[in-house]
């Protein structure tokens, strides 16, 4: 290290290396514990700290929302972020590193499931506590988790299989409406569908069935694109999928039975943070399993050279069918969750704007990468929320950012990277 000093490392470099030294021994679990600590601290003393710093209330999204409205509050917000989030996370993470590493190492020797479940439990606890402060945070987290599912399932088709599918909002709409109808017919006394057929208490238990029904509906809809994809690739398939999106949207608008252009409301609030979190984890787990299997890698073979894939015994029709139906299934599930989170859906929301957002998340995060999809969905959702106070300028800023990413990293930030759970939960040092 003395060497560094002598050779005159620039301050930024020195800062980075000391940061690295500070954080290197902290395993993922340390960070999760730190986040949990920060969330607890906010719950216990967040209001008081905010008051001391001259803020009206706890900044809901790290202060972004306030900062744009009241620039004078920026120092207070920064101090709040440092005191309530940064310092506790760093302190707990760093100080607990030695014992936590031993714990993680012990867990690591058990079946992988155990480690993963413990980590997920901690993550959920931190999110739960953090979002307990306001309904806004719950809603935002729910939508972010849904965005991850959508991005990941779209990446399956656009990234892993290399088609440019534009129909994802259509699949999502199919799932949203199918799941909503399932819930409304069975468990809600509704203006359109009449008396509930089953006691409302059974609703939450049958919610997975409703979601799977939505997913199945979307998967069946995906056949409209999967079957032409046997003969057509590239641009023409993109248009077929785009036409499909418009057809689904227009069909729903013309179906008075489901509310036409006014949409469908009154879905019971089955989709709490817990439910959405579990489904999101399931989605990541299953898709990640799939893309790492030979059946999943067949998608890449179809993308890179279909002729060679056929010659190497790969059933390309089955592969394409699987990719479209499987991707659509998860879009449908996400749609069902979306409908039950917002408790109201309109066909107009499944439009080109939503398509552009989904595509942006996929291509920003990175093609052919579960990591990339998670990062893309999270970062763009957060960015989009954080810049919301800017209103129109936000929609100039975000596209500009994306163009820059496309120019300098045309395949996205984290493309072609395997998501290896075993590495993530590994002990450090």
């Amino acid at each position: 290290m003395a060497n560094d000093m002598l050779s005159g490392t620039p301050p930024a470099g020195a800062l980075r290396s000391s940061w690295r030294r500070l954080t290197a021994p902290v395993p993922l679990m340390g960070w999760l514990l730190g986040s949990l600590g920060a969330a607890l601290l906010e719950l216990a003393a967040g209001g008081a700290v905010a008051g001391l710093l001259g803020l009206d209330k706890i900044p809901l999204l790290f202060g972004f929302l306030i900062a744009f409205k009241q620039p004078l509050a920026i120092p207070g917000v920064l101090a709040y972020d440092i005191l309530v989030y940064l310092l506790p996370v760093l302190l707990v993470g760093r100080l607990s590193a030695p014992p936590v590493n031993r714990l993680v190492a012990a867990l690591y020797r058990l079946p992988l499931v155990v480690s993963v479940l413990v980590h997920l439990g901690l993550l959920y606890a931190a999110l739960h506590l953090w979002s307990g402060v306001s309904d806004y945070r719950v809603l935002m987290l729910n939508l972010m988790l849904i965005a991850i599912m959508l991005t990941l399932s779209l990446n399956l088709i656009n990234g892993y299989m290399g088609e440019f599918s534009c129909s994802h909002p259509g699949f999502m709409a199919l799932g949203a409406y199918a799941a909503s109808i399932f819930s409304l017919v069975l468990f809600v006394d509704d203006r359109i569908f009449g008396q509930a057929l089953l006691p409302a208490a059974a609703g939450p238990w049958l919610f997975p069935v409703a979601l799977v029904a939505g997913g199945a509906m979307a998967a069946v809809g995906a056949l409209v694109i999967a079957i032409p994809s046997f003969r057509t690739r590239g641009d023409y398939l993109a248009i077929i999928s785009l036409a499909f999106l418009f057809i689904v949207k227009s069909m729903i608008e013309n179906l008075e039975l489901v509310g036409g252009p006014r949409g469908l409301g009154g879905q019971p609030g089955y989709a709490g943070l817990t439910t959405v979190f579990i489904w999101c984890v399931l989605c990541i787990w299953i898709i990640n399993n799939f893309v790492r299997s030979t059946l999943g890698k067949a998608l890449n073979a179809v993308r890179d050279d279909e002729l060679a894939a056929e010659a190497m015994t790969i059933d390309t029709r089955r592969t394409k069918m699987t990719a479209f139906m499987f991707g659509a299934f998860w879009a449908g599930i996400a749609g069902g969750l979306y409908a039950h989170v917002l408790q109201h859906v309109t066909p107009a929301s499944f439009d080109l704007r939503m398509l552009a957002e989904m595509l942006a998340m996929v291509y920003f995060g990175g093609l052919n990468s579960v990591y990339g999809s998670i990062v893309g969905a999270l970062s763009l959702s957060v960015l989009s929320e954080a810049l919301r106070p800017l209103e129109l300028i936000k929609w100039i800023f975000i596209p500009l950012l994306l163009i820059l990413v496309m120019i300098f990293r045309p395949r996205g930030l984290i493309a072609f990277k395997e998501f290896n759970v075993r590495d993530i939960v590994k002990p450090k040092a």
């Binding site: 003969r231 057509t232 023409y236 942006a360």
Partner: protein, 307 residues
């Protein structure tokens, strides 16, 4: 029967817009193998530029600063808007597409969409969300031909569009630049090596397509004298579909498919409730593409997406 012919006239006018826009998509595609997804919003911007120029000139003329008859204002508006919009097109090419020429095509598609969003929201930011009414530059004259109502605007729009399309055809088939464009469309790898300046050709293609889109925008403003910031999305995507339907990169195909789309939309609305227009129009398109996977006039060609 008159009802039928009336709709034919309307469809021709509608089809002219689609065809003019679709040509822009198609030309860019044939030269650079990518769809300029910002094109719909270039059409919108063209319409607004036309709106600005026309309003400005009308105000000046009304104040007596300059003396211009209305028809001259229209001609000037069209020319100035074509020029400015083609500048915009070249700018989009330079900033948005040239850096991405060797990138995966999907990245270019995303960039195009994002440029479209920027144009759209830039417009919203400058002019606000309200609709604008286009100045009435020419007095509407109505002719009754055997019960079919024709207006001088409709005749002008269809006629000028056709003339422009024919001029484009001549440009592409007769001039040296047109030859270079056709050569590029034929082979993207070898032709640039033969000394055909790819950047100039790309710029030219964007300029031509944008100029046509500006004309479409102004005509749209004349025919339905309202402009709104989302017209690019609505029309652009449909024209894009027409461009594909015609067979990508086929200029003739794009023209015909543009008119065809106009006919489908108008005649669907004639028979069915207008809310079903999109549903039926897109179902027909889907059907065509499923059974003719390479468009109506495109040649069989298996696109391999580069990732």
């Amino acid at each position: 029967m008159t009802f039928f012919f009336q709709n034919v006239v309307n469809a021709l006018q509608y089809g002219s817009f689609y065809a003019l826009i679709a040509l822009g998509y198609s030309m860019v595609y044939s030269i650079l193998m990518l769809f300029n997804f910002a094109h719909g919003d270039i059409f919108m911007t063209g319409a607004y530029i036309g709106f600005g120029v026309a309003t400005g000139l009308t105000v000046l003329a009304a104040a007596g600063t300059i003396v211009l008859p209305n028809w001259l204002i229209l001609v000037l508006t069209i020319l100035i808007a074509m020029f400015l919009t083609s500048m915009l097109g070249m700018l989009v090419e330079r900033l948005g597409y040239r850096p991405l020429r060797d990138a995966p095509r999907a990245s270019a598609a995303i960039t195009g969409m994002m440029i479209g969003l920027i144009l759209e929201y830039g417009n919203l930011l400058l002019l606000g969300p309200q609709r604008r009414s286009f100045p009435r530059l020419i007095q509407t004259v109505t002719y009754d031909v055997g019960g079919v109502i024709l207006t001088n605007k409709k005749i002008m729009i269809v006629a000028v569009s056709m003339v422009l399309m024919y001029a484009l055809h001549l440009f592409i088939s007769r001039t040296r630049w047109g030859l270079a464009m056709r050569a590029m469309a034929f082979d993207h790898v070898v032709v640039p090596l033969m000394g055909v300046p790819i950047n100039t050709i790309a710029r030219l293609t964007f300029a031509l397509g944008s100029a046509l889109a500006a004309v479409a925008g102004i005509f749209f403003g004349l025919a339905y004298p309202v402009l709104d910031p989302y017209m690019g999305i609505v029309f652009g995507w449909k024209a894009f579909v027409a461009a594909i339907l015609g067979g990508r990169g086929s200029v003739m195909g794009a023209t015909i498919a543009g008119f065809m789309l106009g006919f489908i939309e108008i005649f669907v609305a004639m028979v069915f409730p207008s809310t079903l227009r999109d549903l039926i129009a897109y179902s027909i398109i889907l059907g065509i593409l499923v059974f003719r996977p390479h468009g109506l006039f495109g040649e069989a060609y298996s696109a391999r997406l580069r990732l």
